[in-house]
């Protein structure tokens, strides 16, 4: 017969492992690793490994580092709209003196795209620590680089708990300093794409501020409200995107480089809520976004975590996103009319609806520490194929072919 003392010891270790809401028995380093595969039908493939390490320094301080590598290959719409004759584009590619010319022809009615290949690497660092018993501070730094884009940023944020710890106020700010280095230099705005000069790099800065409140409404119910405001300044134009110039019938004649304002102020309000049932948890969130380019968007998202057993769960997710177009979004410009100051045919600035369905399965393995998950996501993006701003023959074509995206993510997290 085992001594009562010994059996008590085992039970007590298990009891006190969660004392004070903290996992004292766990290790002080957490590793999250994930692998993301993104397939956009006929367009883009992305392969993205992510590694996130968080180390507990004791005294509630922690330091984290996150590495992300993206390998992107594929194509994206170049801004030209489908028209009633084939469209031909010549692009140069290659490096180290070996320049290849590539000619792409798109049939009448087809949406022209631009091929690209890029690798992106990004590193994020963060450090957080308590400043008083109820006040916490966090500082982060970020750097990422790809062939034609370098981004550096930093944020500072504070969270203050009320003494009953039921309410948390947060406030934060950040700045991002980006350099856009278009291949061959940045084009002249709204110039004919065949005759534009290219010169130099450009800067783009972003300043953000955020305030939020999180409130525990009951033992099972948590609500969060956040407001953020950002101001982007500098070169906000996409250097490779063009706008179709049309004749009176709406047929394409030539292209001009797009041009966007050099500043943008955008705001976000996010209301989110989590409710815990017996085992299961339901999440709901609503986001409203608006900016001074005329874009308004609404996002609703719902997630339900269904506990299958103590060691596994299933989490279906649904998201619906709808945005209105920027004021300078056009499907083309009629030749001879006065050029607008700003114009873009980038579908991401147009009317847009995205519906996402995802399913995540999380599980633990008996002989291996840590949590595994696998998530499959299907996203359909599109809008009215025959928008009201279509001109002449454009009305005959699908100006907004729906895009289907599949994303598979496999993740693993462990404490050691």
């Amino acid at each position: 017969m085992q001594l009562i003392k010994n059996r008590l010891r085992i039970a007590t270790c298990s009891l006190l492992a969660i004392a004070g809401g903290a996992a004292a028995a766990d290790g002080d380093t957490q590793l999250d690793a994930a692998m993301l595969f993104y397939f956009e039908d006929g367009r883009t493939d992305v392969f993205e490994p992510v590694l996130n390490l968080k180390h507990d320094l004791g005294n509630d301080q922690s330091i984290g580092v996150k590495f992300v590598v993206d390998a992107i290959t594929g194509s994206s719409p170049n801004g030209a709209t489908p028209t009633n004759h084939p469209q031909t584009f010549t692009s140069t590619s290659g490096s180290q003196g070996e320049v290849r010319k590539r000619v792409e022809v798109f049939n009448a009615g087809e949406t022209p795209v631009r091929m690209f290949q890029d690798n992106r690497i990004s590193v994020d660092l963060n450090y957080d620590r308590p400043l008083t018993r109820l006040l916490k501070g966090e500082i982060t730094g970020h750097i990422s680089a790809e062939k034609d884009y370098v981004s550096r940023g930093t944020t500072l944020s504070f969270t203050q708990d009320t003494p009953d710890r039921l309410t948390t106020f947060s406030v934060g700010g950040g700045a991002n300093f980006d350099v856009v280095e278009p291949t061959g230099g940045k084009p002249e705005p709204l110039k004919n794409s065949d005759s534009t000069n290219h010169f130099g790099n450009a800067n783009k800065d972003e300043y953000d501020g955020m305030i939020g409140i999180t409130r525990i409404l009951s033992r099972r119910w948590l609500m969060q409200l956040n407001f953020s405001r950002s101001r982007d300044k500098g070169y906000l134009t996409e250097p490779y995107k063009i706008v179709s110039i049309l004749d009176q019938t709406g047929s394409q004649i030539y292209y001009r480089m797009e041009n966007r304002p050099d500043n943008r102020t955008h705001q976000n309000v996010l209301l989110s809520s989590a409710y815990e049932f017996t085992d299961d948890v339901i999440h709901f969130s609503y986001r409203y976004y608006w900016d001074d380019w005329g874009i308004r968007s609404n996002t609703v998202e719902m997630k339900y975590r269904y506990e299958l057993s103590e060691a596994s769960y299933l989490e279906p997710q649904f998201r619906y996103y709808k945005q209105t177009a920027a004021t300078f979004f056009v499907s083309g410009i009629i030749d001879g009319t006065t050029l607008p100051q700003f114009a873009s045919s980038d579908y991401r600035l147009g009317n847009l609806q995205t519906t996402t369905y995802a399913l995540k399965y999380g599980f633990q393995l008996e002989d291996l520490d840590g949590d595994f998950n696998i998530r499959a996501e299907y996203m359909r993006q599109g809008d009215d194929p025959h928008p009201g701003n279509a001109i002449g023959v454009q009305k005959n074509y699908d100006l907004f072919p729906a895009v289907n995206v599949f994303i598979i993510t496999a993740g693993y997290s462990v404490n050691f």
């Binding site: 003392k5 008590l8 039970a11 007590t12 009891l15 006190l16 004392a19 004791g58 509630d60 017996t278």
Partner: protein, 303 residues
């Protein structure tokens, strides 16, 4: 000395012989923490952590409140109640203690206090009234499957037997995370000592004599590590026909354990283990010493 009036209850912090003594009141007991040689600001912070943890546990698990999970369970009237993770861990623990003690430790036995009033008088309850309560006592009648608990209507659970010791241990875990200095957490005589003092010496802990006024002590323990808890009849008993009925009730019979010591103090790895072992020793009555010797733990018994 710092007197902190900003919190719901007062706390007092004093500096003594290279260590800090932070005192406050919680769980109907005097509570204190001793912290070896840290800056004043750190001592204030640790005292606040201890005080808020003690109050958190008191609010969450006290059966005297009507706004917590214990109240929800005890007024569930036979319905299923879903509990949070921490409560689930404690119920798992209570169940394990019930199993390993062969039913002697039972968190459903608290309702016996309805008929047993240990006021020094000779008013014993009737056999019938005790037997009536016994049908509402016994963990085997509880349907507990994490995270759902279901009691028979009329049953109650009372974590009074482990709550204070649990608070000592959870507070100690929190303090350990927030300081590398050693400390003592002492909540009404149940305590945890995290390690020796910086000068290498042990901490001196006075153990209250439950027979006396509470001021004197039956001894001073010199300890460097571990949990300590004392079970006693708290000078509360009934006396009838020359038989002393102490405040220690056997949940299986509903009657006091005659022959139990006045107090049992046990030293174990944590306060909650010391608490369970000292309670079980009391329930072994005249065999308390034998039980503790079998368990190979250090103890102090006052008869």
């Amino acid at each position: 000395m710092t007197v902190n009036e900003s919190l719901a209850t007062k706390s007092v912090l004093t500096h003594r012989d290279n260590y800090w003594v932070g005192a406050f009141s919680a769980m109907a007991s005097p509570c204190e923490i001793l912290v070896d040689d840290v800056p004043h600001q750190k001592a204030i912070e640790l005292l606040e952590i201890a005080q808020s943890e003690a109050h958190r546990i008191e609010q969450k698990f006290s059966r005297y409140r009507d706004d917590n999970v214990i109240h929800e369970i005890n007024t569930s009237d036979g319905k299923e109640i879903v509990v949070d993770v921490e409560t689930a861990k404690i119920l798992d623990y209570a169940e394990e203690c019930w199993k390993i003690s062969d039913g002697l430790f039972d968190v459903t036995s608290g309702i016996l206090r309805r008929v047993w009033k240990f006021d020094g008088s000779d008013r014993l309850p009737t056999l019938a009234s005790v037997n009536e309560l016994l049908s509402f006592i016994g963990w085997e009648k509880v349907k507990w499957k994490r995270p759902t608990i279901k009691l028979l209507p009329g049953m109650e659970i009372d974590l009074g037997g482990i709550g204070k010791e649990y608070a000592v241990d959870t507070t100690s875990v929190l303090l350990r995370k927030n300081t590398s200095s050693n400390f003592v957490v002492n909540y009404g005589g149940d305590l945890f000592i995290s390690g020796p003092r910086r000068n290498g010496e042990n901490w001196s802990i006075g153990i209250d004599d439950p027979k006396a006024t509470g001021i004197g002590s039956i001894g001073t323990l010199s300890l460097s590590f571990g949990g300590v808890a004392t079970s006693g009849d708290s000078r509360r008993f009934l006396l009838k026909e020359g038989i002393r009925y102490p405040h220690i009730l056997n949940p299986k019979t509903g009657w006091p354990v005659v022959g139990a010591p006045h107090s049992v103090t046990v030293l174990a790895s944590t306060s909650i283990e010391a608490g369970i072992l000292s309670t079980l020793a009391m329930l072994h009555g005249a065999e308390a010493e034998k039980f503790l010797q079998e368990q190979e733990v250090k103890y102090l018994i006052s008869r």
